[in-house]
Symmetry: C2
């Protein structure tokens, strides 16, 4: 057994308490959580600092950091951690711009450390079985419905509505991270409509049309409005059949038959992958999901819709 990787978390909030902390505890052979840095929050029994500088100075033995703050603040912390020779996990999305992520990838390579742009939904239990099925059964069309009530899932998270917070693409990018993993060829956007509440700088809904070189049509609907029926479903029509990946990748149906899957354990799988990358001396910085979002903002038509109040 190799020794545990000394890990720190920067940016402590809901996703850290809900997912990162239990996953790291469950992977105690791989990781030992030694410190956190966060302006307002701490984790019980773990030394907490209010800045990454103070944390790195007090704990020079840290091997790796997980960056979980909103994407608008991630670049500076990532650059500091990489400069100090630490391995870095970026929560999704990996940054506020594609260009900063490209810079981080180049810098990690220069420093010889691991950079992992993580996409937790790719670790949902149905994703790899779906990918394997679609490698053998040619898709002809894809329908994506990613609809959730923002009031339930992101109550009073102001950053998510601000420029750079991406609005409905914050959950929608999870669908894009699954699609870009399971489809056998690369897709690109051909048409998009983004609905912006008249009092917000981020979209509350998006209607996206993609195709790929083989002319497969992909239609995705993302909706955050409280009136929408909730669901996180990808339905792929294949030659002679249908694949349904539902509940955000947690359940899989092939030609109507439910498939036996492992228990949901996205973050556990994600940290297993981070440890494997560190031990292999590799990076994994796939920006495809964020690239589709940027393309949607660039190519999308904007529609003003009713104001949204939290």
């Amino acid at each position: 057994m190799t020794s545990a990787i000394k890990l720190a978390i920067v940016g402590v909030g809901k996703i850290v308490y809900d997912q990162h902390v239990p996953a790291i505890a469950a992977r105690a052979d791989d990781f030992s959580l030694v410190a956190t840095a966060s302006r307002h929050h701490t984790i019980d029994h773990i030394p907490g600092f209010t800045s990454i500088e103070a944390m790195l100075a007090a704990h020079p033995d840290i091997d790796a950091v997980s960056l979980c703050m909103p994407p608008q603040y991630r670049y500076a912390a990532a650059r500091q951690a990489l400069a100090a020779g630490k391995h870095v996990l970026l929560e999704k999305p990996p940054g506020a711009t594609l260009s900063e992520v490209a810079d981080l990838a180049a810098f990690a390579a220069e420093k010889g450390v691991t950079l992992f742009a993580s996409w937790h939904s790719r670790h949902a239990p149905g994703v790899q079985p779906a990918k394997a099925h679609l490698a053998a059964h040619v898709p002809t069309a894809v329908q994506v419905r990613w609809k959730e009530d923002v009031r339930q899932w992101h109550p009073h998270q102001d950053w998510i509505w601000q420029v750079g917070g991406l609005g409905v693409f914050d959950p929608g990018i999870n669908a894009l991270s699954i699609l870009t993993e399971i489809l056998p060829s690369a897709m690109f956007l051909t048409q998009a409509t983004l609905s912006f509440p008249e009092n917000r700088d981020a979209p509350i809904a998006a209607d996206l049309h993609f195709q790929d070189a083989a002319d497969i049509k992909v239609h995705a609907e993302f909706d955050w409005r409280p009136t929408a029926q909730q669901g996180w479903d990808i339905i792929v029509t294949t030659v002679g059949g249908e694949l349904r990946l539902t509940d955000g990748g947690a359940r899989l149906w092939i030609n109507g038959a439910g498939q036996a899957l492992a228990q949901e354990a996205e973050y556990l799988s994600l940290y297993r992958r981070f440890a494997a990358l560190i031990r292999a001396g590799q990076s994994d910085v796939d920006v495809a999901p964020l690239r589709h979002v940027a393309d949607a903002f660039m190519l999308g038509r904007r529609k003003a819709v009713a104001a949204f109040y939290d």
Copy 2:
């Protein structure tokens, strides 16, 4: 002397008549223009077809194609040309989305042919001397003013105002292509405001703030409004001096002294590079300028401004 590369042009319009045709004629040792495909326009004395399919069928000896149609229509033509084993030059911007350009780059590599995402402004005579100067004189701040009257430069070009036409980023991306060539480190956007005429789907002005890892601040103003004083200038403050690259890269001033430069010959240099890439069996697909544009649409705040009528 190697034999001339048999070249075809797809999408005949203003930029082809003004720039491509004379440049190709001047590089007769490298290229021989053998056909065109365009729905409405032809070039005197050159066989013209109304579709790329018809052209490739009638002229199987074509080695390479230059794709000069609006970016919204470029992917399908590029994919067809690459599938037929032709080398491809993409006018700027290389596509309507970053994802489609990534797909084309992968496909060109698979087919073993050259893909050249061209940025003509990088071939302006002041660009390489400016790059050499900035490699030796550390920049501390950059001001970009790229202001032109859209009525003078893009009269009645409806596509440029449509979704995917990029609006003021159509000239602005030329500034970004120069910046990303001459600055010693990679920059990324931190803040942006895009001004959209209330009757248009593309911005008429953009105000952009970038920084880089070394904390150099870059401020760029793009403006298409007829009231703006025209100019295409990049002013770089360096430690102990100033570099001014003006007239879109055609003139260079260092600490106030005008520098002796070659004659402006952007497209001639661009076709020289395309020939060199083909002969070396290489591709050159740098998406950095388009990536900054996509980042600006994703991160930028939108402001509604007065309607614009052509």
